[in-house]
Each structure stands twice: as structure tokens, then as C-alpha cells.
């Protein structure tokens, strides 16, 4: 199941067909753990979660528990949450502040920088035997802080994070930069949504990569109206006036739904449920136009940083991680973002909107979970697995070197009729998936 030729039969992005096997097959799942999750850059958390020396939060990389920690000297680390002696989970708290991680089984203790500092009876029991320097917590060899987010990889040979992001940084920044155009400035609201969904991790990952097509999933919300102006899911005018771009980087695996407004577009009415909030965004947009030059025109929607981190740049502004929990289950972690400098009233307004939209209690995403779960379940059978999924939408209609009124945008871009859709981004996602699954090392991919 796992040899390269077989994979080529399973994933044919040029023909627009992908076998259901890659979603339900145990062996392929096992290989994903080795070749994707033990190798790629994964989102671990936010610096704002660990402001002080000694602060830590539990997080997850692929199937495994990790500790995101700021050491006493202020340096940030990502550790495998398992003692080197007999593997005990050294940290069973979700967050806290500590001087050390004490293993409750035999009492080995690790400093916040991961070094093994305490070994009961070391002299009498181990004598010269134990070389403590070789038995500190397993640290992710690659870690990168980017505009308040923290990313890590288990593979020393992984490319630098910025190379890994490549041209996609421009789009990820649409989430992480302040709406007034300043660099960074986003912060995560306290509280992380964590829940289990009975589907393979790739269902949400590909959906967020750029599924404009599942409007029927959310028809009930469009009828009821939960948006910031009381209607639909979000404020649509700025989207409707804009060019709709599905952006993907097939050789990186990252994608985003983006929008490019006309050079002369006036401010679009938004956040009309709250004058104060409307005013805030009006002000921000002015600032943004001033600071960003032509780039003010660009804003983002949902996307996916390969393999499993999915920003949603605005309305609502969130980032999710799809942790694999076996081929048939995914644990979702979801952070919600606001401009750190926004007034409390704005933050509160957005928080309410985010919660009613997103997550297991979100009117919108409840139906996504239902669809992902039963799509997965209905794809497990012997006969079902003989019938590939269809990814033909917009095949061959994307271009590189997109430009509009002198503004060039990176990536392979499908410029679509507003209100319609393309599977340009999903094909990009699986192009990269296929590359990593087939390569024995990062070197092979270079």
C-alpha cells in the first residue's frame, strides 16, 4: 500500500481523481506519521500563551503530546512530553508556570530548558554510568517563532521555516498582521477549543485549504443569520466587490482563499450590529490603506499551511490545527484571534461572533463536522474504496504570475467567478502530500 508506484495510482491530481484509500487505509496513515508529521513544520501555539519565564502549555504535534515552554532565561522550547527513563508523561497539566518538570514515576526532573537536572540517588545508583547530557527531554530540533505563533519540526533536515512558508507568508500575514496594517499585532483570546471529530485529518485540512463550494452545508446559517451585521455568515459586500482568488503553492502544499478589492473600492459597510466596531474597522482600514500601499486591497479567507494548520484570516479570524488521532479520528484545536490593541468592546463583540460561528457549538461548523464524519464513514467500505473522489473542478484553469492593476501575487492562482468555486487549492494540497509521502528525506525533495 505504501510503495511509491501505488501512491501514484491513488493520487492523480492532473486527472482530478484521488482514491478514498488515502483517507481510510491504516498503512497509509502510519506512513503519514513518519513522512509528514514527523517531518513537516507544525503549529505548536502562541507566544502569548507563555509570556513569563517558566510558563508552559501542553500542545500536540501529530499524535504526540508536547510541551511548549519558556525557560527561566526566556528562551522558547518544544519538548516531547515523555520522560527519557520509562516514558512517563512528565506534564499532565494544560498550562502553568514551573521551575522544573518532575516525573512522577521515579523522580527524574528536567529544567525548563529540557536538561535533566535531577536524578534521585544518581551517585549511588548510577555512578559514572548515566550521562545526563544525553538524557534530557527530547526537544524538537527545529523551532521558529513567527509573528506570535510558534512552529516546530522533528526533522533536523527540514528547510528553514521561512523557506517552508515561501511565498505563502504574504497570505498567512493576512491573519497575523493587525488589520490596521502593522506587522504582527494579533493575539489569541484565552481559551482553546479542543474536540474530537470522527474523520480523517485531511477532510478538514482540504476543506479549509479552499472549499468555497460547500455553501449548501451552511444554508441553514445563511437563512438564520449570525454575521456581524446580523445577516448571513459574514459581511459580504467587500467580498462581492473583490476578485475571488484561490491561491495554492503545489510544491509547498499551502493554500488560501483570497480576495482582491478594486483599487478604487470605497470602504464597504460591515459590523453594522455595532457602531463602535464598525468605526474601529473603518479606522483600521484607512490606516491599512495608508500603510500597505496597493496591498491594502488583499484580504484572506480560509487556508491551510501544509499539512494541518488552517488559518481563517477574517470573519471569523481563527487558526485551527487538525491533529491526527488514528486514520478515523481527528482532534481539533482552535485559537481565536483579535488585534491586541483593539478596544475591549471590539474584542468582546468579535469573541461572541467567533463562538457562535466556529467550533463544535458554532452554528456554521456543526454542519461541517456532520459532513466530514459521514463522508469518512461512507468511504471505508470495500466497494466505496474502488471509487475515487472527484477533484476536477477548475482543472487547468489556474495561472502563475497573477497580476491586477500592477499588483502581482505569488502562487498558482485560480481567478474564479465570484460565488463559484474551484478545487485548485485541494489539488495543490495533495500534490505536496504526494511529494512528501513519496520522498525518503527532505534532501530528495530539494
Amino acid at each position: 500500500m505504501a510503495e511509491t508506484p501505488k501512491l501514484d495510482e491513488l493520487v492523480d491530481v492532473d486527472a482530478g481523481t484521488i482514491s478514498r484509500e488515502i483517507f481510510v487505509n491504516e498503512e497509509i496513515y502510519r506512513q503519514e506519521q513518519e513522512r509528514i508529521f514527523a517531518r513537516a513544520w507544525l503549529l505548536v501555539g502562541f507566544e502569548s500563551q507563555i509570556p513569563q519565564p517558566g510558563d508552559f502549555v501542553a500542545s500536540s504535534m501529530g499524535e504526540e503530546s508536547v510541551i511548549l515552554c519558556r525557560d527561566r532565561a526566556g528562551a522558547v522550547h518544544v519538548f516531547l512530553n515523555s520522560c527519557r527513563h520509562r516514558g512517563m508523561k512528565v506534564c499532565r497539566y494544560d498550562e502553568g508556570n514551573t521551575r522544573e518538570f518532575l516525573c512522577p514515576y521515579h523522580g527524574w526532573s528536567y529544567a525548563t530548558d529540557g536538561t535533566l537536572v535531577g536524578v534521585p540517588h544518581q551517585k549511588d545508583a548510577y555512578g559514572a554510568q548515566l550521562d545526563r547530557s544525553r538524557w534530557g527531554l527530547v526537544e524538537a530540533p527545529r523551532m521558529c517563532r513567527y509573528k506570535g505563533t510558534v512552529w516546530a519540526s522533528w526533522d533536523p533536515a527540514a528547510p528553514p521555516f521561512l523557506d517552508y512558508l515561501g511565498g505563502y507568508a504574504l497570505y498567512l500575514d493576512l491573519l497575523l498582521d493587525a488589520w490596521d496594517g502593522r506587522e504582527g499585532g494579533a493575539e489569541a483570546i484565552g481559551g482553546v477549543h479542543k474536540w474530537l471529530v470522527p474523520c480523517n485529518w485531511k477532510f478538514p485540512a482540504e476543506n479549509f485549504s479552499g472549499d468555497r463550494y460547500h455553501g449548501v452545508s451552511h444554508r441553514s446559517v445563511d437563512m438564520v443569520g449570525i454575521g456581524p451585521s446580523g445577516k448571513g455568515r459574514r459581511d459580504m459586500q467587500e467580498r462581492n466587490e473583490a476578485r475571488s482568488l484561490d491561491v495554492t503553492f503545489p510544491d509547498l502544499g499551502h493554500s488560501m482563499i483570497a480576495f482582491l478589492r478594486p483599487p478604487d473600492a470605497p470602504l464597504a459597510p460591515a459590523y453594522q450590529d455595532s457602531p463602535a466596531v464598525g468605526e474601529y474597522f473603518r479606522y483600521c482600514e484607512e490606516e491599512r490603506r495608508r500603510r500597505r500601499g496597493a496591498h491594502w486591497r488583499l484580504f484572506g479567507g480560509p487556508g491551510t499551511v501544509f499539512p494541518n494548520a488552517s488559518p481563517l484570516a477574517r470573519q471569523p479570524r481563527t487558526i485551527a490545527v487538525w491533529h491526527p488521532r488514528g486514520p478515523h479520528q481527528t482532534e481539533v484545536w482552535r485559537w481565536y484571534l483579535v488585534d491586541a490593541d483593539a478596544p475591549v468592546a471590539v474584542k468582546d463583540f468579535l469573541r461572541h461572533y467567533y463562538i457562535r460561528y466556529s467550533g463544535p457549538a458554532g452554528l456554521t461548523e456543526q454542519d461541517d463536522m456532520e459532513n466530514w464524519g459521514y463522508a469518512h464513514a461512507a468511504s471505508r467500505g470495500t466497494v466505496a474504496r474502488r471509487h475515487p473522489y472527484n477533484y476536477e473542478m477548475g482543472l487547468g484553469r489556474a495561472t502563475r504570475g497573477f497580476e491586477d492593476h500592477g499588483l502581482a501575487l505569488p502562487g498558482r492562482i485560480a481567478d474564479i467567478v465570484p460565488g463559484t468555486a474551484s478545487e485548485n487549492n485541494q489539488r495543490g494540497f495533495y500534490t505536496r502530500w504526494r511529494q512528501l509521502m513519496g520522498a525518503a528525506s527532505w534532501a530528495e525533495l530539494a
Binding site: 497539566y93 484565552g190 474536540w195 457562535r356
Partner: protein, 175 residues
């Protein structure tokens, strides 16, 4: 205490138990509009996220109402939209409808103050849908009930679900 006083106590307990059982009945019979009518206009509906915190740092144990991201942190308007969504007939997560059962136990009136009563109860919510999909949620509720025109209403509900990672895929029901 006088017979009347004793009786009053018993009647209040009975009234409130009956109210909570009636609420459960409305929910499980999917009579959501009648259920909504049990809430005051200024009602608060809050369900925090639970965290694993050291026993000596209980303040970290749950997310804060009105400040953090919670599972629910809303008023009657949002509750009404949830009900409206179920009624669209295209809310796929509830099509076909889930079979739910709200078991309510341990009803405690912890405080009464004029027309308000602070009430604690425990719930076990069983959900089964489609073929074999089954969820069980267990926890506590802390309600503030208010008597308006002789009828009890829910002015505030705090739901303490005994889970940290939510073990169900969605929360398309009310607790």
C-alpha cells in the same frame, strides 16, 4: 417551623423539580420554541471550557465568562438563532434529528431571594443518532431561576461539563 412553612419548602422544591423535568421534556420532544420561552429576555447561557490545572491553581481550571473563549457564552438572541436553525430543515447536523435524553438529578435549591432561586442540578445527556452514533455528556448545571408572573423562568444557566477535550463532534443540542 410551622406546618405552612414546611409545606412551602416542600412545594418550592417540587415546583422547581417539576420545572426542570418539564424543561427536559420540551428539549427531548424538540419543542424548542416552548423551551426558549422558559428563558428571561436577559438570560445568560454559559458553558466554560475545563482545563487540567494543578490542584493548587484552581483559577486556571475553567475559562472565564465574558472574557475567554467558552463553549457557550451567550444570551437569548443567539439561543433563538440556534432554534431557528434547527427549524430550517437543512441543518444537516440534526437531519435526521438526534434522539436525546436529558436525565436530571441532584436538584438542590442553594439560595432563594425574593423571586429568585439559585438551583444546582446534575445532568446526563444521552444522544444517539442515525445508526450507531452515540454520545454521553455528564456534568452540573447552576441556574438562577426567576419567578415572573407566577411562572419560573431561567435567568442564568452555567453548565459545567465534566470534560476537557470535548468528546463529541458537535453541540447541536441544548443542556
Amino acid at each position: 417551623m410551622s406546618v405552612e412553612a414546611h409545606l412551602a419548602e416542600l412545594l418550592l422544591q417540587r415546583e422547581i423539580e417539576a420545572f426542570l423535568y418539564r424543561e427536559a421534556e420540551l428539549l427531548d420532544e424538540r419543542r424548542f420554541e416552548e423551551w426558549l420561552a422558559l428563558f428571561t429576555e436577559d438570560a445568560r447561557y454559559w458553558m466554560p471550557i475545563r482545563r487540567n490545572a494543578p490542584s493548587d491553581a484552581p483559577e486556571r481550571e475553567r475559562t472565564r465568562e465574558g472574557v475567554d473563549v467558552n463553549w457557550f457564552d451567550e444570551g437569548k438572541d443567539t439561543l433563538s438563532r440556534r432554534v431557528a436553525q434547527v427549524r430550517t430543515g437543512v441543518h444537516w447536523a440534526e437531519e435526521p434529528p438526534s434522539r436525546t435524553c436529558h436525565m436530571v438529578t441532584n436538584v438542590q435549591i442553594v439560595r432563594t431571594d425574593g423571586d429568585e432561586a439559585a438551583v444546582k442540578s446534575r445532568f446526563l445527556l444521552y444522544r444517539n443518532r442515525v445508526e450507531t452514533e452515540t454520545d454521553v455528556l455528564v456534568g452540573k448545571r447552576e441556574d438562577t431561576l426567576r419567578r415572573i408572573a407566577g411562572q419560573w423562568r431561567i435567568a442564568r444557566r452555567m453548565i459545567l461539563l465534566d470534560q476537557s477535550v470535548l468528546l463529541v463532534k458537535n453541540l447541536t443540542f441544548f443542556i
